[in-house]
């Protein structure tokens, strides 16, 4: 489907490219370093050194597993909205707000005009891409999710806040592309929060983010409720939708049978909320189900969501099962080192 675009960008990916959604678990020494840094017991430079070390570790792990498209693992990010809010003009950070049970977080507050001050993720992308010959995705949190996960004290409406964010994030996307990122993922986990806003402005916002930028765009959507936004969501101007499929009550494959999926799809085949590591046979079955309704040229293989809540061992084993299953589907041998 969009393989032509990938080729034009100079990317030669195998069929059924394997990738991940973005975040990996932070090992104990990074958690400890972040705590120390917050308590002013560690300098920014010292923290960054450790973050670079762990990013190197994750790159070599991903290469060892045999993934085709890599990520930096987001070792330097806390919350995915707060990280960008901290680096854009127009934001403050709130006191503690409850998210469920005994979980609390600090929520961004839009208090002024949202503006891009300069590159946010570009240095990390450049550093990570410098470690590998495999393509590394550029990763940003999308304008709708940034808006939905922030208090808005400045803009008169959700629409205006979202579109202002889109303009700021467009600058980040341009900077990523200029640095050489060919695959850029715009995370929009919240996009199904108010389905009526998809046609009202969420699609428009995505258009502002991606327009005129020469890259292959992926959007990651989670927290379900697809039945309310499908097929309307196909109008989002991206090349690839990254969806959670294994943890979905709803049978999305059935939905695609009724209304064909016309773009590329990153198919979530392992559950990131479960400690249980799927065996390759289970994952293989999921991939084959996807191939019932999608052409192999359309399909990418990845986990449901970021793996940051799993242990490192669980994360690695889930990815190994995923790569092994993908190879089986392609009729390749298992002890294959990932090169094509």
């Amino acid at each position: 489907m969009m393989r032509k675009k990938l080729e034009c960008l100079g990317l030669k990916l195998p069929l059924l490219p394997t990738t991940t959604v973005g975040s990996f678990p932070k090992p104990p020494y990074i958690l400890e370093a972040r705590r120390k840094f917050a308590a002013k017991g560690l300098s920014a430079e010292e923290l960054k050194k450790l973050e670079e070390r762990v990013t190197r570790e994750w790159i070599s792990l991903q290469e060892g597993i045999g993934l085709d498209v890599l990520v930096d693992g987001e070792m330097y990010r806390g919350d995915m909205a707060t990280y960008f809010a901290n680096n854009l003009d127009g934001f403050e950070i709130s006191g503690l707000v409850r998210s469920y049970g005994n979980r609390y977080y600090r929520k961004p507050i839009i208090t002024g005009e949202v503006k891009w001050q300069g590159p946010i993720t570009v240095d990390w992308w450049r550093f990570t891409q410098g470690l590998t010959s495999k393509p590394v995705k550029g990763m940003i949190t999308g304008p709708y999710t940034m808006m939905d996960w922030s208090f808005n004290e400045y803009y008169p409406s959700r629409r205006e806040a979202c579109l202002a964010l889109a303009k700021a994030l467009h600058e980040e996307v341009k900077a990523l592309a200029k640095a050489g990122a060919k695959i850029i993922q715009v995370d929009e986990p919240a996009i199904s929060a108010r389905p009526e806003e998809l046609p009202e402005f969420a699609i428009e916002a995505m258009k502002i983010v991606t327009e005129g930028v020469d890259a292959y765009f992926i959007t990651h959507i989670c927290y379900g409720a697809f039945e309310f936004i499908y097929p309307e969501m196909l109008k989002l101007p991206v090349d690839n939708f990254d969806l959670e499929m294994s943890n979905s009550e709803l049978d999305l494959v059935e939905l695609f049978r009724k209304h064909p999926f016309g773009k590329d799809l990153s198919f979530g085949v392992v559950d990131v909320h479960s400690h249980v590591v799927e065996d390759a046979a289970t994952v293989e079955q999921r991939i084959r189900r996807a191939l019932d309704v999608l052409k192999p040229e359309q399909l990418w293989i990845d986990p449901d969501c970021g793996l940051k809540t799993r242990t490192q061992e669980e994360a690695v084993n889930k990815l190994k099962a995923m790569v092994e299953a993908t190879r089986k589907v392609k009729g390749l041998k298992n002890n294959y080192n990932g090169r094509q």
Binding site: S94, G95, L96, V97, R98, S99, Y100, G101, N102, Y104, K107, I109, D148, W149, F151, N152, E153, A193, R194, Y223, A225, E249, H273
Partner: protein, 327 residues
């Protein structure tokens, strides 16, 4: 016309100051098995006292217990039911808060009373009336996964049975005003008959108490007329979703007490006095009852930091004082 200020439900149980972390710490210790139930309950009692005191200090006429003991508005009422298990997290309406979703597997039977002792404790420590809040039967049924045989209607009826028991006990324990939260109806208008039947059943049990029906997180304007015909005493409305609501009320009038959710419970931005007073000027003249409540659009506990919640309530009280001059 009397304008009373009220809480709409939850209040933040922790804050940013070191001494406001007690609940969070005790919760974690309780989860890890480091403290017993009684110790955790003691902390919940203490924090309940504290959030009631804070609401009183803000100047409210009607307070709640802050729902400090609730896990979330759905599982709080289903945990103590037979025939029901608690499943994974799901987004609570369109908010950034998540609740544990009940899975219904059999006939619903209440094992023990849920709200009465919570209300009794709060009533004893408050110098102003305490309003107990229960989640309504329709919303409980709608946000559950139904895995048993039997239709949705019968599930709503069974939840109505459970909540009726709650309401009866609360009224007997001395509640003057009992709030029933039914936000799920706003986006499911076609279920209105099922919903209506459930509300009628629950209201029958109110005894000497008055019942307030609250909806939020959606536009109530299209349902306004139908909601007014239900047999409750107070109708609570969320104005933050509903640009047409003030005009709708001005046009159709009102013969019940209203709970005016003009204070945005989900935004840190403080309301401008004029903005709220303008709406009050428009709707107060058409209200035939002798009382309205000015309150946040929803409970504040799961949406705002504690410090902002307090400021919101203070600001609301000061607006209500100005509004007194309008009547």
């Amino acid at each position: 016309m009397e304008i009373l200020t009220a809480s709409t439900g939850s209040y933040p149980r922790i804050g940013d100051r070191p001494e406001q972390q007690r609940h969070r710490q005790a919760y974690a210790q309780h989860e890890r098995g480091e403290i017993f139930d009684e110790e955790f309950k003691r902390v919940q009692d203490e924090v309940t006292r504290e959030v009631i005191e804070e609401q009183l200090r803000a100047g409210l006429d009607v307070v709640t217990d802050g729902q400090v003991r609730w896990h979330d508005p759905i599982s709080h009422f289903t945990r103590k039911l037979e025939g029901c298990e608690i499943d994974g997290l799901l987004r609570f309406f369109d908010t950034n808060f998540y609740f544990r979703q009940p899975v219904i597997k059999g006939k619903l039977v209440r094992r023990e009373s849920i709200s009465e002792h919570e209300f009794t404790f709060a009533k004893e420590v408050s110098s102003k009336p305490v309003k107990p809040v229960v989640t309504g039967p329709y919303t409980l049924a709608k946000l559950s996964i139904n895995r048993r045989s039997g239709d949705f209607q019968s599930l709503v009826d069974e939840f109505a049975g459970v909540i009726s028991q709650e309401v009866r006990e609360l009224a007997k324990a001395g509640a003057e005003l009992i709030q029933i939260d039914e936000s799920a109806i706003l986006k499911n208008l076609s279920d209105f008959q099922v919903f209506e039947r459930a509300i009628q059943k629950v209201v029958t049990e109110k005894g000497k108490a008055r019942v307030a029906l609250y909806t939020y997180f959606g536009d109530a304007a299209p349902l306004y007329q139908k909601l007014l015909k239900l047999p409750m005493d107070v109708l609570g409305l969320d104005f933050t979703y509903s640009p047409k609501l003030p005009d709708t009320i001005a046009r159709l009038g009102c013969d019940k007490d209203l709970g005016l959710g003009l204070i945005d419970g989900r935004n840190t931005k403080l309301e401008r006095e004029k903005q709220v007073l303008d709406v009050l000027k428009l709707i107060l003249p058409v209200i035939k009852s002798k009382r309205v409540y000015l309150n946040p659009s929803c409970g504040l506990g799961d949406y705002l930091p504690r410090e902002i919640a307090f400021k919101k309530l203070q600001n609301m009280v000061s607006i209500a004082e100005k509004a007194g001059g309008l009547t």
